[in-house]
Symmetry: C2
Subunit: 209 residues, 2 copies
């Protein structure tokens, strides 16, 4: 079937949100941890974290600064630090629960039964229960003029992960770490690797490595 | 184990690319189709497509405009249109092959054995073998100053997909359509849905819906 923009705009609001949020494909599942100047922690689920660059090592994510995500934004602007923590099968329900509208006085770590963990490098809490954790320093923000969302970019300062999931060529076996994928607004998926493919060159069919 | 930015910068180049590209979690797997003013088609795999907004319906992706992706960028600037096509299990090897460095005179549709398909609404080719296809009009670009990448935003003008994968609440069962997920630079994964969870509210545990 085919649908067009004019029909999508007439969809009921929640139906439209579920539909359009499904269109980008599978999404990353991460918890972003921050802390305010006063020491109040915040934790929020994001499905928009993407790779930005390897040298320097950069990651980014898109946020709606006037929504429930505003505590994350305010804290990043205050401390310049944030953490990205992979969501795995053991904690996806707690992770989902961080999207509830808690007041600024409530820490989602307490409300959602996840454990903050700190290092000396990063002024933001990691999620102890996560197996792959990245500590970042805020670098820049770019406003998407079309709808006021903000793309936040951070530089990777620290990576904490199990040694035995790093393969010989640097590829990290995130599936082995139990990292899950998201579809739409509320679908959680485990994965099964089909293949890794060789570097593509014209005239040569990719091989499974 | 823990690693820090200074060590990551000393990694061998390909090792670093594989490592850092793995850190964001699972990625969407899409083919972006474009056409030049002269009618030459282009097709390129992207793992950075994300949801930007539901009203108006917006999607975005990050690109390196001076790399192999430059034909995609040039065509979008020429025609203002592009298509996003989900990669499924049947075509992931052809999709991967589009990342080879073909010259501008070669269409990846021909070189990678995929079929262009057109509608009256969008001045860009869809991938016939894809089951979920989105036609977009270019809206804006934002340069990430930290490394010169560009975040491209398009407005959804048209969506083509099988009727029987749209659930009653608007959620699209992309898993049923065979859409795959990417990890790192070259890992391809099929998925198995663990659960959909209810809308999160403070004090109420999320339920499987």
């Amino acid at each position: 079937m085919k649908t067009i923009k004019e029909k999508i705009l007439k969809f009921e609001k929640l139906y439209r949100a579920a539909f359009v949020n499904s269109l980008s494909g599978f999404k990353s599942a991460n918890l972003i941890g921050t802390i305010s100047r006063e020491g109040k922690t915040n934790l929020a689920i994001f499905n928009s974290v993407i790779h930005v660059g390897a040298n320097p090592p950069l990651m980014g994510f898109l946020m709606r600064p006037v929504s429930v995500e505003r505590h994350t934004y305010a804290n990043i602007k205050e401390t310049n630090h944030f953490t990205i923590n992979h969501i795995n099968k053991e904690i996806f329900k707690q992770a989902h629960q961080t999207s509830a509208r808690y007041g600024k006085e409530i820490s989602e770590f307490d409300a959602c039964e996840l454990t903050p963990e700190y290092t000396e490098t990063i002024k933001a809490p990691y999620v102890k229960e996560s197996k792959i954790k990245i500590g970042l320093k805020f670098l820049e923000e770019q406003e998407i003029k079309s709808n006021g969302t903000i793309f936040i970019v951070g530089e990777i300062r620290e990576v904490i992960l199990p040694y035995d999931i790093i393969l010989a060529d640097g590829f990290i076996d995130i599936e082995k770490a139990g990292t899950i994928a998201i579809s739409g607004l509320d679908g959680y998926h485990e994965t099964k690797r089909v293949a890794r493919l060789s570097y593509a060159k014209p005239g040569i069919k990719p091989e499974e490595t």
